[in-house]
């Protein structure tokens, strides 16, 4: 298998790696870079556990090749907290007990951040449809939806 050299930016840091040309971005993150916060639930883009942002766009990293990150910026769960300060979404997820097993949580958080960047004041229905690509089997989504709505409110108040 031939390898390609890739220069990219992950969570604000310049990163270089050589990866097989058929390796997914998810495999590169997890297996080569040791960034296991991004999870694999299906490998076919159906569950959203591997959600990351690529140039600000929400993607399933299992459906993106590692070589496609060349010259672009990738944001993962590991970069969500600002050093020792949790992102408001992370804080609200803890306050609202929006996770049980937690395996979908990184993907849900990355997806929710992406939503709030585009739409700081979503309705419940907008949150539900935006997160429809992130499967959670534990919570029934109730507490997740509440946490995202509450985080959006807090973030709007902080902006005001």
């Amino acid at each position: 298998m031939s390898h390609s050299h890739v220069s990219t930016t992950i969570n604000g840091q310049a990163v270089q790696y050589a990866c097989p040309t058929d390796a997914s971005l998810l495999e590169v993150l997890r297996d080569q870079l040791g960034m296991t916060g991004t999870k694999e639930g299906c490998g076919s883009g159906d569950c959203g556990a591997c959600s990351v942002s690529l140039d600000g766009r929400l993607v399933c990293s299992c459906l993106v090749l590692g070589v496609e990150a060349q010259g672009r910026t990738v944001d993962t769960i590991e970069g969500m907290a600002d050093k020792n300060k949790l992102h408001t979404l992370q804080t609200k997820f803890l306050e609202h007990a929006a996770l049980q097993c937690g395996i979908c949580t990184p993907g849900v958080l990355v997806a929710a951040r992406s939503l709030l960047e585009k739409n700081p004041d979503p309705t419940e229905q907008e949150v539900r449809y935006w997160l429809a690509g992130n499967l959670c089997r534990c919570t029934g989504y109730d507490k997740i939806i509440r946490a995202v709505l509450e985080a959006a409110k807090t973030m709007r108040e902080e902006q005001a």
Partner: protein, 742 residues
């Protein structure tokens, strides 16, 4: 002080779980998140046939591929310990494959890519045999037989050899009861198999030394059982295998048994290297987990006053390729919510060419409850009775002889029904094409084998070691109970799930047992610490131990020399512990009894599109008796999550088999679990009728929430569309077809 009147300081608060920050930052380590130096990657070759004889397996080409370090088949496994034959056969097929996806061979290679290539180089010659995957076909006398000679003595005549077990429960005389009824309803109901659908696929890493001692890292609900089963399958001593449980990405019963773990051990043994294996989603759906599929005959009699005069159910549960007892756990709870004079349930265990079924949250109960509660609801419609009043009239109470035998202790069914009746949801108006469904459900709950140790650290903080993987916040709940008992802040306690080398055996996180049984053992361990402290201080103070009491987190002298000795808190005790005889620890080992039965009541509003048959859930309320909610957020979470899994089972989840006996929907796209946009908020009401078997009144809450939703949704859909739904899932084509029938 009884649990009812006790004032709690820590318990009942919505405190944050100790693993929370790790789980929102990506730091938590799950099954697939660990690597070892020199590690190999394992991969399994699986059967493409539903039923076939293996004529030969040629592994030579795979073995010659550069990077392949081991190839194994069943021939590489030892004769298992007695009782583990089926487990071994399910992990790696012997002379026959019994279902599509059954493991046939496995490789370990230096990369995932090479392992995948190597699998394709293994040549298996099969002689395809007749198969059967449908429960109704499997019981016919001329059906293809999965295993010959397994039929137990009590099985009635007239079925194929696939009907392997029979059980029956009940009391009174149902024929007399049916004669006393004003209306008798007889129906046949069917449900399809579903999968637990945990988002984390099975993952495991193991290494084995030349002395045959092994270490394993695995996502599981119960690493002690994984150890025991692996030891049984690999003919090892349990002590030679140390298993560490990773954080677990959902289980719901499906991760209480082994699939890949013994295979990984066999590969590690043969290669002499650490081996890691992670299932694909397709493998998860084809070879792990699923529930029973069912065919259920139900007959219920009711009089005009709403009293159920007799209830009967005959359940055929398709258990997959091996004998199971799941049908018993359908036959027992089917009518458990009701005080009945005449009740009989029969269970028949049917084997087929499907994957071995595994537990799924109250295993066996949801289909039976769907059938029973649907029949009762239809009788209410027929007799013009209010379904809530009918359930109140018939509800089992403390002292009721249950439908499956034992007499109930105090429980909260009546309180749940009263809370449901008083809930605004029950009275809210419905719109056109909408219907409201009500269902009650029961689960036994369980205690079981439990070991806990609690240590007082040198600085006065407290470490709890327990052996049950934490899926939904149990470490928080256990820390809270220990903090409550010791009278110290929650933050002073840390609970850790320890490996199998560090604690005595524990049953898995199943049976809704952890907060109850581990909590109970942790409280008793904390009490042992208190008693030890009292005894030591009594010696130091030279007073009678009965005059030393533990109150509000400190030891107080209460005898006639009061005022002589200053109270000592836990940190002060820790400071001087070594001068008083050494470290202080408490531990408790028990087969915990007194789990306390659990009842829940669900209300569902659905809207059925008359043009497409598509059902949407408009409103949903769960009411359940938790005994005592240690951390209410996590109780609500169980109620909501269980309800939504049940909604999925009712409306869209199903295993679809082709004529070839192969599973056709092997991904989350086609096996569709509920997504956020399918659902409304799930309202919850926690009822607290303390369980007399637990010091704080705890009842398990995890399983009951999946029992009523199948029936609640079916009753709602039936009332919304005017046609009784008897076949799950209620997919749009099925519902539409029922509506178009005259």
């Amino acid at each position: 002080m009884s649990a009812q009147t006790k004032q709690f300081k820590v318990i009942g608060q919505r405190l944050q779980r100790p693993d929370g920050i790790d789980k929102v930052t990506g730091r938590a380590r799950y099954g697939a998140d660990i690597d070892a130096a020199g590690m190999l990657h394992g991969k399994i070759l699986r059967s493409p046939h539903a039923h076939a004889r293996i004529l030969s397996i040629d592994t030579s080409a795979a073995e010659q591929l550069n990077g392949v370090m081991a190839v194994i088949t069943r021939a590489d496994f030892p004769t298992p310990h007695k009782g583990f034959e089926d487990v071994q056969d399910n992990c790696m097929a012997g002379d026959r494959v019994l279902y599509d996806g059954h493991a046939v061979a496995a490789v370990a290679a230096t990369s995932k890519h090479i392992a995948k290539q190597a699998i394709k180089l293994i040549k298996v010659q099969y002689q395809v045999l007749p198969h059967v995957t449908d429960v109704e076909q499997a019981i016919q006398p001329d059906a293809p037989v999965v295993h010959s000679g397994l039929v137990s003595r009590r099985v009635p005549k007239g079925f194929s050899e696939n009907v392997v077990r029979y059980s029956s429960f009940g009391h009174g005389n149902i024929e007399t009861g049916f004669k006393a009824a004003d209306a008798v309803l007889e129906r046949t109901y069917k449900t399809e198999a579903t999968h637990q659908g945990y988002i984390e696929p099975h993952a495991c890493m193991a290494s084995m030394g030349l002395d045959n001692r092994a270490d394993m890292w695995v996502c599981t609900q119960g690493h002690f059982w994984i150890r025991n089963m692996c030891a049984g399958v690999m003919a090892m001593e349990s002590a030679s295998l140390r298993v560490t449980a990773s954080e677990i990405g959902g289980g719901f019963g499906g991760k209480t048994t082994v699939f890949i773990e013994p295979v990984v051990l066999a590969l590690a043994k043969k290669s002499g290297r650490a081996v890691k294996m992670v299932m694909t989603r397709e493998e998860v759906l084809r070879a792990t987990g699923p529930t029973v599929s069912t065919m259920m005959h139900v007959k219920v009699g009711m009089n005009k006053a709403g009293r159920i005069t007799a209830a009967y159910a005959k359940l055929f549960y398709q258990a997959g390729a091996y004998k199971q007892a799941t049908v018993d756990f359908g036959a027992m709870p089917a009518f458990a919510p009701y005080a009945l004079e005449n009740v009989k349930t029969e269970g028949l265990d049917v084997i087929t060419n499907r994957p071995r079924t595994a537990s799924y949250r109250a295993p066996g109960a949801p289909p039976a409850c769907f059938a029973a509660e649907s029949a009762i609801d239809e009788l209410c419609q027929e007799l013009g009775l209010d379904p809530m009043e009918v359930r109140l009239i018939n509800a089992a109470k403390g002292g009721t002889k249950s439908s499956y035998g034992p007499t109930f202790e105090d429980h909260g069914l009546i309180q749940c029904l009263e809370a449901a009746k008083a809930h605004p949801h029950w009275q809210a108006p419905l719109e056109i094409n909408q219907g409201r469904g009500l269902a009650a459900g029961f689960w036994f709950n369980f205690g079981g084998e439990t070991c806990v140790s609690v240590f007082l650290n040198n600085d006065g903080s407290v470490t709890v070691t327990e052996g049950n993987p934490d899926i939904g916040g149990s470490r928080a709940s256990i820390s809270m109970m220990v903090a409550e008992e010791l009278g110290i802040p929650y933050e002073q306690v840390r609970t850790t799930v320890t490996d199998t080398g560090s604690l005595g055996p524990n049953e898995p996180t199943h049976g809704s047992r952890v907060t109850f049984a581990v909590g109970l053992a942790a409280i008793k361990s904390a009490r042992a610490i208190i008693d030890e402290i009292r005894a030591r201080l009594a010696r130091m103070w030279e007073v009678d131990v009965t005059d030393v009491v533990w109150q509000d987190g400190a030891a107080h002298y209460t005898g006639n020399k009061a005022g002589t000795f200053e109270p000592l808190d836990l940190r002060q005790v820790a400071d001087i512990a070594n001068n008083l005889g050494g470290p202080i620890a408490g531990h408790h080992e028990a087969n915990a009894e007194g789990a306390g039965v659990s009842f829940g009541v669900h209300i569902a509003d659905t809207e059925v599109d008359p043009e497409t048959g598509f059902t949407s859930v408009k409103r949903y309320t769960v009411i359940q008796d938790a005994g005592k909610a240690i951390q209410p957020d996590y109780v609500e979470g169980q109620l909501q999550g269980g309800a939504v899994q049940g909604i999925g089972w009712a409306l869209n989840e199903e295993y679809v088999y082709g004529e070839d006996g192969c599973l056709q929907n092997t991904g989350f796209l086609d096996y569709r679990i509920p997504v956020a946009s399918d659902l409304p908020m799930i309202d919850t009401v926690i009822v607290e009728v303390p369980n007399p078997g637990h010091p704080f009144g705890v009842r398990g809450v995890g399983e009951t929430p999946i029992v009523p939703p199948l029936a609640a949704i079916a009753n709602a859909v039936s009332r919304a569309c005017g046609k009784r739904q008897v076949d799950l899932p209620m997919s749009p084509p099925k519902v539409l077809a029922s509506m178009q029938k005259a």
